[in-house]
Symmetry: C2
Subunit: 994 residues, 2 copies
């Protein structure tokens, strides 16, 4: 009854027919067993000089070998011979393999290293066989080039591993999700209609509003699961993961003392190990029966789909949870950038709209207000009129207006809302992806760690031998002593990198000071008038280039430094790498921005007492319109430049170039192999792709961008907009890369995005502080407020410019610093709050200065307090777990308990029918002495009359024991059930083995 | 072989012999089955008028009824009759019970309500029986008074529930903890020696350095666990929990539609339900064989043990994890108060030591510096000399010195260290208590919620009937609409409470202002000189009394308000209650302190322009020594007073009083019952104790104390010391209460201390802000710094007092406010930074004012930044999970996997021997057609030659299936094993049922 459909599901190798035409090479040569994983090693040239017998033997047939679970070589023959239930072919194969391997490998006249590798491969693959995997090797016809070992995980292995890995699978039990009623329902219908064009066309996996309960896979409970076909019950990603799990923990004791495939790859025993893609990603003609990769390529990994939602469930199904979470996160981030961009545009629009009514900028541009400003450089520069800086004042207002304060608070809230929203989404996803309650997996040490550890052991042993024979103390880990040099190099390198970054920033500052001084001295008035623009623009571009270069260098350095630390596990490694890389890259990207925001123009001194650097160069000042406009320019150019260049050149250009080079190279070498080559198999195609190298760079790029969007957003309200534009492209770019340009990564389970969340949340909090300081210290918001409410006579901003400019008596200029042709000017103005020359303590900070400073500091405290309170409220008000999910979780738990309780009841019923039979052909009395042994003491209950039969006398003992045994009988029936699924348990009773 | 020891373990009821003499009443009357839980209801007087038959029948014997698991009334008889394995007595009892219940209850001429309750009890207890519990009832001889229903959970029920509850139990597998070697080892030995006198003398449960692996209980894996006796495998607390779990979910459908015992208690069907204590807590004579309660009483719950560690493991074993965690937390808190107290004493000592060299206080006391101060009140008061305030200045220095700043930072760090330390301890505990990975349990709605919901349903149905017949929509929850009135009352009440608190504070302020004004006007010079002392002291005491009264009121109000909100579950209720109670009590305790710290003396105005409240009362000023000394007085009196009074009177006195009253009352009523009373059973004794009412008050008290220790610690460095002294007593007080004065609480599993941790951590963070403001605004630390570094000519503090006092021209006094006899004084001084009378803008805030303000604000920012950075570093540097625990966890996981893998291998070996037998008496071919049905398609693998036997042909089908079946066989053997434990699995094969 079940045979027919399951037959249908097993794909037959037919290299010409329809949907599977691209799937050639997805199966073993029997066309049935799926290739779940591929190991690749390079056959060296000399491999062709092999004994003719072995070549001919293995040339004729592909050596397919397979195995069950945990055979022990000793007992295996007996079992195979006597039991008859384990297929003899399977059992016997193990030794055959051993023989074959020994035969093929042992006689080889290979170089020692090469030969050794062959032995290692032999042992490793034999161990894989023992772990139950099935192996297919390439015919050994190829003298050189990549050689593929294909692995298949049969059903029992999948079951075993799924149980170990606690993989959750859907059960037969389903429940209906609650329909919304009334207004909510019609709203959601309308919403769905509206959303329709944005939904990717992906074959629906959910059955309307029905949700299937899922439960950790257990072989004891096979009857619970909805197993339609054993070949497709576990999807390809899961199969890959299962095989990877085995590869990861398979040991290699005899030939090399290591564990896991990654060590072997590191040793060069294998070149690569990867699961196969689902076939070609190009669709030819018939679009109805696309494989997952094709669907992803069509509906997700193309720019024309930029407006659509991502098919996250499919991404997760294909690439695993970790990558699924990355794209989900990127999606949420991009979505939430939309409102931020809109608000940013509005804020910017407000600036544009009010620029003509803004009193301070009007006053600055007003030619009638005749402010004579002190010269910008010593000697060469002349006094200047403030209204010449009218342009920057107007531009400054675009970004430095009250709406910006609102925007800064908004963006602080936005950041926390984003994080909260993501938390909820993450939990929703981990619920619908059945990740709730997964535990961290035990990890094996990294290859490098093992190597160092072995070296240490050997060194210790050698030392011991030199001294005397003592009892061997096992060295089982590296201590801080072993890592000391690493740490030392780490700290010093990081300090050096910091120094490098700072000196780069400082270099640009010096460049700016020197060039502007030189240009100011130039006689050409054209040059003079363009000083600021030219200097700023060139300096920022230099900054950008430095950042881009250092960014690449720091990435490599962080990797190198992390290797030096010898972290034990891969997770450990990743975490340390991320931290270091983040620290360095963050520093690199933000150091010049921090300089402009908080330090530029603050150490200028005052006329007559300027601060000089080197010999005679004055520290640079901010533009007359305020420092914020400079910050804005700096930020926008670095952000845009970084995104454009990194996205276009590094992410698109360089891979294209690499591909070109590779294909050119291949063309040369491919020529000679052409004649004997079949059409390339999927593993050949996949091997040609670039390996997957982790999500760290992808995340890192986005995190740095998040910094631009949140940290200094007060100075550049358009940042979210540019981030949005970038990300819309970024999603598809990354998608393309994963679908078409990378080997399929192993599906890794992950509950969350890990350390990135902490970094994001830390940045969100940090951004509050930064924005508070930007608004209060970099912008003119506070001085304006103080003026309006404390000093203004009319309560308006009229006279603000006058108020911010202090007076300077030209006669106080130090000799040689006064302008050459000062004319009849006796007083000039400069931007600062200082006592006028006629005050008793002239040029000291005035009362206004302290007042404004107090106001600024108070604003920082207030802003922080308000923002953090708002953040706290939002974080507290939005529950981490969405209510619907919470309800569903509860419901599922209840249903699951119900299922088990029902099962328990059924068991009980079964016992009764069983015992009815049991008594007919077996006297329970025959087992009495044994049953009574433990607990049943007849007549123990003095208050109870002895039971009518002997069996009832011990309540806690015999009876209960019998019940216990009965329960296990029922479990037997349960366990025999799964092979003939959907059958009623009543029927099975007759087929029990007694 | 196993019989003898297990016999020994089962305690025999012998009311005279040794250790169990106090344990009378711990068992059913058969002396074997432990009483795990007791339900109590009150027999009404009229119960005595019952039909003579029923009385006589049940008088003669205690009705013991018991049951197995999930019998279905229909199938039960058959099973009992045919199988013979289920004791007939047990099975038959169910109906007997139904009959008996019907008989005893049905004929009763009771009042309707009473009768109904009887029926409910009948049904409920019948359902308990059905769930497998065993019940013993009191003989119905007693006409009135409490009637006890005792419950016992037999082994199968314990097993089933333990599996559901995922209770972790120790397995047989053990491993050695690593010995430290070298220096560490000898250090730890020394430490252990030193620690010896502080360790409580508790029977050790751990076996040296051996730790047993633990695993969730599963009936499938009984052979894994170390079951020495089924009676003691689950300890008493666990048994109680299991029974409670059943009580909680047992439904009562026929007679009343509710779930769980708590509803029934709320309805008054039962009076109480509690697990039994382990016996009397008093030890008489022989101290060797103490029960847990006695050990706890001897080693933990007595004041003389105050210097000892708490036997936390035993506390947890006896009271469950939740209470264990409370005491562990209290212990950690108290321990960590020791260093804080020491540092506090040192800081205070520094103040004492430097008081004679402190320049500002010396200057204030210096009579030569002739500062004439402006009068403290209008008219009546005279000018005064500053050196008369010498005393407060010196006292002020004790608390307001640079060391205080250090102490504030130290305490911020201390708070975070405490929390981090607790986190680690919590994780260590949850590891050693096997709580890792427990999940939240599903909770049933609270009784009140259910009642309201039912009322709503009925109302809805009635409305429906009134209108027309429509399809019934199920109302399954309360919406916000139902809760609206509750919320409304909540918000308004809380606002009202806030108002109440503030008006109380304000009342005290008014009292202070008025009384001091009146006293100042009094002609008696004695009165005049004592104004400040008298007013402050009386005001604080009034404050204290108000706080104590409102504290009690708010506790009750919070409970009432939370009830109004109709929270769905108990957890929900608790959380809301805690939040509300915390908010109100926090407000109440801290409002006066906040006032003194941040508002007192800040709205005084200035001479000539004072701020007046009511008609003519000037706002109060701080003492001349600064506001900090007032804050210190306020804080210390409230803290000490609250602790002393609440601890002594409320926690010791009132319970004693209640007990006295109860015993007096009982004496009266006991007389008449004396003749027929046996010596009181344990359940009588326990019923006489007060019920356990949750840990909220205990935690709340400590949290408020934590506030005193952390929030304003900058003003009172001795706070930790007083807290320490209080807590040393508090621990023993609480312990006494739990051991001797309360009924045993149900052991509740809890992984952590829940919301309290969040409150603590929030307070820790809040304390940084508060301390920053206290130091910068309340203390004189910043003005002193500013003076020293900006204004002092010599760089010392000389002249500071002069600098802080502004000048006032006496002629500017408003008419009538000047002192009556001003003499020849023209200028007086007052404490403020204002321009002198001769300045152009006289009496405006001076530049110094703004400068000091900016410095204060900057300090707040700096202090916060430093503290938070330090906190972050500490929190980040200290891993939440201790390294050793992490390693052990990993090791355990690995061991567990090993155990299971070994099991799997053993299974496989067993299969072989089984199949050897299987084939001899049963042809596998006979099941062929069935086995092949699902998957085995003979000849499916075209590349493989057909196997030698038929059975081997289908690799994925038949063979695998056979293996699967064999696996279940092995499970059968496994499951029959546990009853004859420690037996080798090889032996059992012969005893299999086929």
């Amino acid at each position: 009854m079940q045979t027919a459909p399951s037959e249908d599901k097993i794909p037959v190798v037919d290299s010409t027919s329809g949907p599977q035409s691209n799937g050639e090479g997805l199966y073993f040569s029997d066309g049935r067993r799926k290739v779940d994983y591929v190991l690749v090693f390079h056959q060296r040239r000399h491999g062709s000089i092999r004994s003719p017998t072995s070549t001919s033997v293995s040339h004729d047939r592909l050596s397919i070998v397979s195995n069950g679970n945990f055979p022990q070589s000793a007992g295996l023959h007996a079992a195979a011979g006597v039991g008859g239930a384990i297929p003899a072919g399977e059992a016997a194969n193990v030794d055959e393999v051993f023989m074959e391997l020994g035969f093929a490998g042992g006689n080889e006249p290979a170089e020692p290293a090469d030969h050794e590798m062959h032995l290692i491969r032999q042992e490793f693959e034999a161990n894989l066989l023992e772990a139950g995997l099935e192996i297919e090797r390439d015919g050994e016809s190829k003298a050189h080039g990549p050689s593929f070992t294909r692995l298949h995980a049969p059903w029992p292995v999948l079951c075993r591993e799924a149980e170990f890995l606690k993989i959750k699978v859907p059960t037969k039990t389903s429940y209906e999700l609650k329909e919304e009623s009334g207004f909510g329902s019609s709203m959601s219908t309308v919403w769905q209609k509206l959303n329709q064009p944005f939904q990717p066309k992906v074959p629906q996996q959910d059955h309307g509003r029905t949700k299937f309960l899922s439960h950790c896979f257990s072989r004891d409970k096979l009857h619970l699961y909805n197993i339609t076909s054993k070949d497709t019950f576990f999807d390809n990603a899961t199969r890959g993961r299962v095989v990877y799990e085995i590869l990861r923990r398979t040991v290699c004791v005899r030939t090399c003392q290591t564990i896991g495939i990654s060590t072997l790859i590191a040793k060069g025993v294998y070149d690569a190990a990867f699961p196969l893609h689902d076939g070609d990603f190009r669709v030819d003609g018939d679009a109805d029966d696309r494989n997952d990769r094709q669907v992803l390529h069509e509906e997700w990994a193309r720019y024309s789909a930029f407006y659509k939602y991502q098919p996250i469930d499919l991404v997760r199904k294909y690439f695993g949870e970790k990558i699924g979470l990355y794209f989900a996160w990127l999606g949420v981030y991009t979505q939430l950038l939309i409102p931020a961009s809109i608000v940013g545009i509005i804020v910017f629009g407000y600036g544009v709209a009010t620029v003509d009514t803004n009193i301070p900028s009007l006053e600055m541009c007003d030619e009638r207000l005749n402010f004579t400003m002190c010269p910008l450089c010593d000697g060469a520069c002349d006094f200047w009129r403030l209204n010449t800086a009218c342009g920057t004042a107007r531009a400054s207002h675009l970004f430095d207006n009250p709406a910006t304060v609102f925007f800064a608070i908004f963006m602080s809230l936005w950041a926390v809302l984003f994080l909260e929203h993501w938390k909820r989404r993450q939990i929703s996803l981990s619920f619908s992806w059945d990740l709730t309650g997964i535990e961290e997996e035990e990890e094996h040490p990294r290859p490098r760690y093992e190597t160092i550890l072995r070296q240490k052991r050997q060194r210790k042993q050698k030392n011991k031998k030199h001294k005397k024979k003592t009892s061997e103390t096992a060295i089982d880990k590296l201590t801080w002593k072993d890592r000391l040099p690493g740490y030392f190099i780490n700290v010093s390198s990081i300090l050096f990198m910091f120094g490098l970054t700072f000196s780069a920033v400082f270099g640009v500052i010096v460049y700016r000071i020197v060039v502007s001084a030189l240009m100011a001295m130039s006689p050409d008035p054209e040059t003079k008038s363009n000083v600021r623009v030219t200097v700023t623009a060139t300096a920022v571009i230099i900054n950008l280039v430095v950042i881009l270069i250092l960014d690449e260098i720091y990435g490599a350095v962080a990797l190198w430094l992390t290797e030096l630390e010898i972290p034990k596990t891969e997770t450990n490694f990743e975490e340390r790498l991320i931290l270091k890389a983040f620290l360095l890259k963050f520093m690199n990207a933000y150091a010049p921005i921090f300089y402009v925001a908080f330090f530029k123009g603050r150490f200028v001194g005052r006329p007559g007492n300027y601060v000089y650097v080197f010999n005679g160069y004055r520290m640079e000042e901010c533009a007359p319109g305020g420092c914020l406009i400079e910050l804005c320019i700096q930020l926008s150019i670095i952000m845009l430049g970084k995104q454009l260049i990194q996205n276009n050149i590094f992410e698109i250009g360089i891979p294209k170039l690499k591909k070109l080079v590779r294909s050119l190279k291949d063309k040369g070498s491919a020529e000679e192999e052409r004649e004997e080559e079949r059409p390339p198999q999927q593993w050949n195609l996949d091997y040609a792709l670039a390996p997957f190298e982790g999500l760290t760079p992808e995340y890192m790029e986005m995190i740095i961008q998040f910094g631009f969007v949140s940290l200094f957003v007060a100075s550049f309200p358009l940042a979210p907009l540019f981030a949005l534009l970038n990300n819309v492209i970024e999603i598809r770019l990354d998608a393309k890369k994963f679908v078409a340009e990378l080997r399929r990564p192993v599906a890794i389970r992950a509950k969350d995005i890990g350390i990135w969340y902490n970094i994001l949340s830390g940045m969100g909090k940090f951004s509050v502080i930064i924005n508070a300081f930007v608004i209060s210290f970099t912008s003119d918001f506070i001085p304006r407020l103080v003026y309006q409410y404390m000093y203004s006579q009319t309560g308006t901003m009229h006279g603000f410019i006058d108020h911010t400019l202090s007076h300077f008596n030209v006669s106080s200029f130090k000799p040689g610093t006064a302008p050459h042709n000062s004319g009849d000017i006796t007083l000039c103005r400069y931007k600062d709050y200082r006592e006028p020359p006629w005050s008793p303590d002239a040029y000291q900070f005035s009362k206004q200065y302290w007042c404004v400073l107090a106001a600024r500091l108070a604003f920082v405290i207030l802003f922080q307090f308000m923002s953090y309170t708002a953040i706290l409220m939002v974080a507290w008000g939005i529950p981490d777990v969405p209510k619907t999910i919470m309800q569903q979780l509860k419901r599922e738990k209840k249903l699951l308990v119900d299922v088990f309780l029902r099962e328990e009841k059924e068991k009980f019923q079964l016992i009764q029918s069983l015992f009815a039979k049991d008594t007919t052909h077996q006297q329970p009395g025959s087992k009495r002495p044994h049953a009574g042994q433990g607990f049943a003491v007849p007549g123990r209950y003095s208050t109870l009359p002895p039971g009518p039969t002997q069996a009832s006398s011990g309540d806690g003992g015999g009876g209960q024991r019998a019940r216990c045994r009965a329960a296990s009988f029922s479990q037997v029936t349960r366990k025999t059930l799964p092979t003939n699924e959907n059958e009623n348990s009543k029927h099975t009773a007759s087929e029990l083995p007694f």
